[in-house]
């Protein structure tokens, strides 16, 4: 039934003449260059310099009855071809009739209240080789039906396809996996991800995956509240297995596991302050006994909550200052799985298992933004994210952004990343980013 409705919306309806009276078209886009340089790591297998051409092209079409939006993104890296990607961010048809709104096609959903930690923002797969606290999102096909109810907006989602995230290549300094030199045979490299159905079966050969969810949003008394429930394929915190099916080329394989998520976002304006909260609890589906052909899937139901406080004020004359304080904590994580676990592969074991946990778990962020409020929209941003349990782990950022003329935008900055490996000889997961300090310069032309 729903598949038929999707097919009708995507294929049949747009081809009818009545769908396109009074057609208006609008295009927009950007084209730019990104340069980043990392501090050398004395590892010839990694790429310390990146130079990429990036672009975004969007087309909006609307008629009396229907709207269509399309937005695609590409990045071509001249120095690291594995970083070059093209993907759809949005590409959907929309119909509104009274209190009802239907959207069908690729969409990005943004369910977040905070600026750096996003435990409630769970829907879209990410392009990991981007700003790690605000990764770029890949659009995902879905049918979304929204109606006015319960004093707010209620939206139902059906997602027939689960799009895989784009992980950094093993050449990238932003990588979360580095080839493991076993010393006793072939190196372990990163293989294709594996998907688990709700019944525990594993497969790799197609992307079809039925996912469901709903979200209600209300605004009241200076506040916005959103609550959602989603049953889908988790692609942000995969379980990692060593697949030795082919002994000559052992692979580390990420297992995407089905999960049911209950989450919320809340923002309250109080004078010059904004109080922000968001959180989610995740119940992971496991096969009976937790056993899969690749190995045992651990129990790991857990919740995470982020809190934030934003305070801004205008300076006499010109300029606006904004201070942001945020923190995130994880609770309910199984005691036998350390919270700071990342990929912890032990090649000597027969079928070892690891987890790629959220990068931020017990962290705080303090940020300061100064907007000059000038005609060039010059903005300076400084932020520090520190792990409160392991203060030696931190991410520092300083950047400045400025419009050049009326169509160009330039930004430059520096990022300092410290995630010291617990075992310096075998960095795991995000520890691979340790000391990947970088300077970056981005220039974009909008049209």
């Amino acid at each position: 039934m729903i598949r038929n409705l999707c097919t009708w919306m995507l294929c049949v309806w747009p081809m009818t003449a009545q769908a396109w009276p009074q057609l208006s078209l609008e295009s927009r886009g950007e084209l730019g260059a990104e340069f980043r340089s990392f501090t050398p790591d004395d590892d010839s297998s990694t790429q310390d310099l990146n130079f990429a051409v990036v672009g975004r092209l969007g087309i909006d079409a609307s008629t009396k009855y229907i709207e269509a939006k399309g937005l695609a993104f590409f990045r071509y890296d001249a120095l690291d071809s594995e970083r070059s990607k093209i993907f759809v961010e949005d590409g959907y048809l929309e119909m509104k009739r009274g209190m009802l709104r239907l959207r069908a096609g690729y969409q990005r959903l943004n369910w977040t209240a905070t600026e750096a930690f996003h435990p409630a923002d769970i829907v879209n797969a990410r392009y990991w080789d981007s700003t790690i606290e605000n990764q770029e999102k890949l659009g995902e096909p879905m049918l979304a039906v929204r109606l006015k109810a319960l004093g707010g907006d209620v939206e139902f989602y059906y997602r027939p396809i689960a799009v895989d995230p784009v992980f950094p290549s093993t050449r990238s300094r932003m990588r979360v996996f580095a080839p493991i030199h076993t010393g006793v045979g072939a190196d372990v490299t990163l293989g294709d991800p594996v998907r688990m159905r709700f019944n525990g079966d594993l497969y790799t050969d197609h992307f079809a995956y039925e996912q469901w969810g709903a979200r209600i949003q209300r605004s009241f008394a200076g506040a916005d509240l959103g609550v959602h429930v989603m049953q889908h394929l988790d692609r942000t915190t995969p379980v990692v297995f060593l697949d030795t099916t082919e002994a000559s080329s052992p692979k580390a394989r990420m297992l995407f596991q089905p999960v049911t998520v209950l989450g919320f976002t809340y923002v309250q304006a109080l004078g010059s302050f904004l109080i922000k909260m968001e959180g989610a609890y995740q119940w992971y589906m496991r096969p009976r006994g937790g056993q899969t052909p690749l190995g045992m899937v651990p129990e790991r139901n857990y919740g995470s909550v982020a809190l934030g406080l934003e305070y801004g004020f205008n300076h006499q004359g010109r300029g606006t200052s904004t201070f942001i304080l945020e923190g995130q904590g994880i609770f309910g994580f199984p005691k036998n799985q350390p919270v700071d676990a990342s990929i912890f592969l032990i090649p000597q074991a027969s079928r070892p298992v690891g987890l790629l946990t959220p990068l931020f778990n017990h962290d705080v962020m303090l940020a300061y933004r100064y907007s000059f409020d000038d005609e060039s929209s010059t903005t300076v941003l400084c932020s520090a994210i520190v792990d409160v349990l392991r203060p030696q782990e931190f991410l520092l950022t300083a950047s400045v952004e400025r419009r050049l003329g009326e169509t160009w935008l330039a930004s430059t900055g520096v990022r300092v990343v410290r995630i010291p490996p617990k075992d310096p000889k075998a960095p795991q997961g995000f520890e691979n980013m340790n000391d990947a300090h970088q300077i970056f310069v981005n220039v974009k032309r909008y049209f």
Binding site: E30, L109, R146, A269, L274, N314, Q316, S371, K444
Partner: protein, 255 residues
């Protein structure tokens, strides 16, 4: 003389007899508000020219929708169209008479609707000499009014009023406004900074009668301290437009 004109004169004469300058100022403010209400909905295209101290000009463009709310502050939605990097950014404001306004920003690049603190309204609007509070809905309750006297501007009788923002976070200590008695709309507003010094002067030019309402077609804002100026002009303006309430729903900003 018809009945409406007689009532109007009666109102003016009764205001002239108000006991104190504060009472008379409040009465005029109410008359101005009363004259300008009832437009239901407004749809307009605007252009803003920013002129720096050297005379260099940059352009901003936006589209605005305003929905009148009876008994409360109006709802407005502005979509930025130029410069290109902010194209598609939308700002939704629900003005309130007594409490802080509700305000949201839609950021198209990340497809995020973000609530923002409306208290910081003295900041510059798009880098211009206009601040957010200059362009907000001037609810009577947000000011203390005082009548300063009768003046003549370009041969037309006007009232001179002082209004002091009630909100202590306003960027101004006071505003002095000159109101054309015939059009019941301002012809100029002087803005004084928190130190009491003259900061800016807004000059309202080219009034046109649209659907029975006098509406300004251009406002020139001159900053006396920085020597910069901005000109906000309306390229098109319709009043009495019926606007769907969904346009002013924060959850619909991404549509």
């Amino acid at each position: 003389m018809n009945y409406t004109a007689a009532l109007f004169l009666l109102l003016i004469s009764s205001s002239a007899q108000a006991a104190t300058p504060e009472e008379r100022g409040l009465e005029i403010a109410r008359m101005v508000h009363k004259t300008n209400e009832g437009f239901k909905g407004e749809k307009s295209e605007l252009e803003m020219i920013l002129i720096n101290a050297h005379g260099d000009r940059t352009v901003r463009r936006m589209a605005s929708l305003i929905r009148e709310v009876v008994g409360e502050g109006d709802k407005s939605r502005i979509e930025f169209q130029w410069p290109a990097d902010v194209k598609g950014t939308r700002m939704l404001t629900w003005s309130h008479k007594a409490s802080d306004d509700d305000q949201w920003l839609f950021l198209p690049a990340v497809k995020r609707v973000k609530r923002i603190a409306s208290r910081n309204k003295s900041g510059s609007f798009m880098g211009s000499e206009f601040s957010y509070e200059d362009l907000g809905s001037p609810e009577i309750e947000k000011f203390k009014h005082k009548f300063l006297g009768d003046v003549t501007v370009n041969g037309r009788p006007c009232w001179r009023l002082e209004r002091i923002p009630v909100d202590p976070t306003s960027g101004y200590s006071k505003e002095v406004t000159v109101i054309d008695q015939g059009m019941m709309n301002p012809v100029s507003i002087e803005y004084y900074d928190r130190k009491g010094d003259l900061l800016k002067t807004g000059t309202f030019e080219n009034y046109a009668q649209i659907s029975g309402y006098f509406r300004v077609q251009s406002i020139r804002m001159e900053n006396h301290q920085t020597k910069k100026s901005s000109i906000l002009s309306w390229k098109s303006r319709e009043l009495g437009v019926s606007l769907d309430d969904a346009l002013f729903d924060s959850n619909e900003l991404d549509g």
